[in-house]
């Protein structure tokens, strides 16, 4: 049951449009009129509007969610191979 809901979550995540898209589109618009390196003393990445900065937080949240899911699956896998090791499954052919 847990495995099936996990699989469903992963499929949904994989099918979702990749999060960077929302803030990527917005970045294209101001580019045409952007000045480069002439004005400011220091230059960071281009200033972002609210949509882009939200997009960044969504991206980070999504990455960590995916990582947590993978950590859980790996935990299951580790238990599995440890059990096999205990049974002598990997000790030569």
């Amino acid at each position: 049951m847990a495995g099936i809901s996990l699989l469903a979550c992963l499929l949904v995540q994989a099918a979702l449009p990749p999060p960077p898209a929302p803030f990527q589109e917005a970045k294209e618009a101001p580019k045409a009129s952007q000045e480069r390196a002439a004005g400011p003393e220091e230059q960071g990445p281009p200033p972002m509007d609210a949509r882009e900065s939200t997009g960044i937080y969504v991206f980070i949240a999504w990455i960590w969610m995916a990582i947590l899911v993978l950590l859980y699956v790996l935990g299951l896998k580790i238990r599995e191979v440890d059990r096999l090791h205990g049974l002598g499954y990997f000790d030569g052919s």
Binding site: E42, P45, H85
Partner: protein, 350 residues
């Protein structure tokens, strides 16, 4: 069926059996074993992001800064790629330091692993070389000044100092030639040397197997071992995932900035300092007076640092009886050096 086809032509199952047979001991200090592959994780990320950045970076006096600005502002998601490259560099060097420290205090360098240690120290120097050469590439005021200082320090070495400085700079002064030369080091010479040395380092590790910390070995207890593949690798992947998450989070939330294009004639900017991993050396040089007796203070400092480096390189040979009293001195020296490096780094920030 595909597996059988590949097996018939490559005999790769031998590798799998080797990796199955290779065991990783499980004990109190096992967490240190994760540092090696963590370095490889960050190195791989450096290679990939480096490939991507080199598509747009232009290593010439006239265009370097502008090309980095273009990556930051015009190329889609360029700022993230650059930020990941910058953060992964720092994290990789931090992990190298951690790896080194773990090897030192567990005395994993003792016989027969002396060459593994020495190749490791050489790899550390190459990693620092990557950091140093990469720092100049954006060609802004800060990186120019840091490079001027950094390439001036070898001058203090007697006899060969001036030659070393000229070799690094491509001339007497830091110029556009230095930039192109550093780019050549960063993307061509150093990668080649690194991968060659890494192959030796990893081959030696496979030959000798994983070492046991001296304290564990002396207790004489039977230590359980996990098969490297798949048991230990799956655990490593978990560590990689967390490290990767931390890297991307830091890179996205705290991207590096870019200063105005370097002016070869301008005075050094206020607050000039090297990257964090050089700060303790920087501070060490600063505390030496300008003259000691008849000798230039810098020369004394540099020679002392070189001496320290040489002793560090030969540590397995110096710590020849790791189990004895002398061995305890060397273990304490690890903590002493850590304290020194951290204290100097913190001091340099004020």
């Amino acid at each position: 069926m595909l597996k059988a086809w590949i097996e018939d032509r490559t005999g790769l199952s031998r590798v799998e059996r080797f990796l199955n047979a290779k065991t990783v001991p499980q004990h109190r200090h096992s967490f240190w074993y994760y540092t090696g592959s963590a370095i490889l994780l960050f190195l791989s990320i450096q290679v990939v992001t480096g490939f991507l950045l080199v598509f747009y970076y232009r290593p010439t006096l006239g265009e370097a800064n502008a090309s980095v600005a273009r990556i930051m502002t015009e190329v889609p998601l360029g700022w993230i790629i650059r930020s990941v490259h910058s953060w992964s560099a720092s994290l990789m060097i931090a992990t190298v330091f951690a790896h080194l420290f773990g090897i030192w205090i567990t005395k994993a360098y003792r016989r027969p692993r002396e060459l593994t240690w020495m190749s490791g120290v050489a790899l550390l120097l190459l990693a620092l070389g990557f950091g140093f050469t990469g720092y100049l590439l954006p060609w802004d005021g800060l990186s120019l000044s840091a490079t001027k200082v950094g390439t001036d320090i070898p001058r203090s070495v007697p006899v060969v100092g001036a030659w070393i400085a000229r070799f690094l700079r491509g001339g007497e002064d830091v110029t556009g030639d230095t930039l192109t030369r550093f780019f050549g080091f960063h993307v061509c010479v150093l990668p080649f040397l690194l991968f060659a040395l890494l192959a030796v380092h990893v081959a030696l590790i496979q030959k000798h197997g994983m070492s046991l910390p001296l304290s564990v070995e002396r207790r004489g207890e039977k230590v359980k071992g996990l098969p490297f593949w798949p048991n230990f690798v799956y655990r490593e992947v978990r560590v990689w995932l967390v490290l990767f998450g931390l890297l991307v989070t830091a890179a996205v939330l705290f991207p590096p900035s870019l200063g105005k294009v370097a002016d070869l004639m301008a005075p050094a900017p206020v607050g000039i300092k090297p990257e964090w991993y050089f700060l303790f050396l920087f501070q060490t040089l600063k505390i030496f007076p300008s003259r000691i007796l008849f000798v230039d203070g810098d020369t004394v400092a540099v020679l002392l640092i070189l001496l320290g480096g040489a002793l560090f390189f030969m540590l397995p040979l110096l710590d020849c009886s790791p189990g004895g009293k002398r061995g305890r001195f060397f273990a304490a020296a690890a903590w002493g050096f850590l304290f020194y490096a951290v204290a100097m780094t913190v001091w340099s920030l004020f």
